[in-house]
């Protein structure tokens, strides 16, 4: 029998809430509300390989990405460059991914983050097992966890 280890939606939500409340949401918390995600926007992804294989991805609109960067750097959004956005979003997914990884048993290696404007879809060898749809400052924030599909025991 094959046992697939995956984080629960509640655990991922707790991780995201902790990251947000510590660095981003002291005054405006991230809410468990689904807001339609328009096309485009930013994606930040991090992978885990070894004892547990996964991709953790955070998708945000341009406005949310700028707000994340501005809040982390404590500077006006217009002063945040694309390089700053990539840096901030990379740290965001690093914290979410690292904490999700810490919940899972076994040894594995966390990658460096990958950030891009647009969708960073995992390879076809991974399937979505967890999808967290949130809203921050009126903007959608989506966090997904992809894992290898469970092996067919037959």
């Amino acid at each position: 029998m094959t046992v697939t280890l995956e984080p629960s939606l509640g655990d991922v939500h707790a991780v995201v809430e902790e990251v947000w409340s510590s660095f981003l949401g002291a005054e405006e918390p991230i809410l468990p509300l689904a807001t339609p995600m328009p096309p485009g926007g930013w994606s930040a992804a991090i992978t885990v390989t070894g004892g547990w294989d996964a991709q953790i991805t955070v998708n945000l609109t341009d406005a949310a990405a700028q707000a994340v960067t501005s809040t982390m750097l404590m500077c006006p959004p217009e002063q945040c460059s694309d390089e700053d956005l990539r840096d901030a979003l990379g740290e965001l997914v690093n914290m979410v991914g690292g904490n999700v990884k810490s919940l899972m048993a076994g040894s594995a290696v966390l990658s460096l983050p990958l950030v891009g404007h647009g969708d960073i879809s995992p390879g076809s060898h991974l399937v979505e097992v967890c999808r967290l749809e949130l809203t921050w400052r009126g903007e959608p924030v989506v966090v997904t966890v992809h894992l290898p599909p469970a092996a067919d025991p037959s």
């Binding site: 902790e18 660095f23 982390m72 750097l73 901030a88 914290m95 690292g98 966390l110």
Partner: protein, 123 residues
Amino acid sequence: MKILVVDDSRVMRQIVIRTLRQSGHGGHDVVEAENGREGLEAVQREAPDLVLSDWNMPEMSGIDFLTALRASGGTVPFGFVTSEGSPAMRAQAEAAGAAFLIAKPFTPESFDEALGAVLGAHP
């Protein structure tokens, strides 16, 4: 005193420096480096009293930085500031010679607790 902050993310280095202030440890000089290799060079050049290092970095990771530092005879107190705070990571950090591991996201209180034990009372 002088603190060396090592992280490939400029954003996180700024957050660490801000948190040093918020935790009452803002009176120290701060030097920055972007990866473990630059961190090694900075330790030799700046002779810091404490190193705060990320774990996962390009060029040279934090754990490799610490290992190389101790292998060369460096005894500067070293603490990790990293997104992975599992018991296994903490054990690996301690075995390599780290004084503490602060998990991201962190609070000024967690900074004060870790740094206070190494640096003593606030400057």
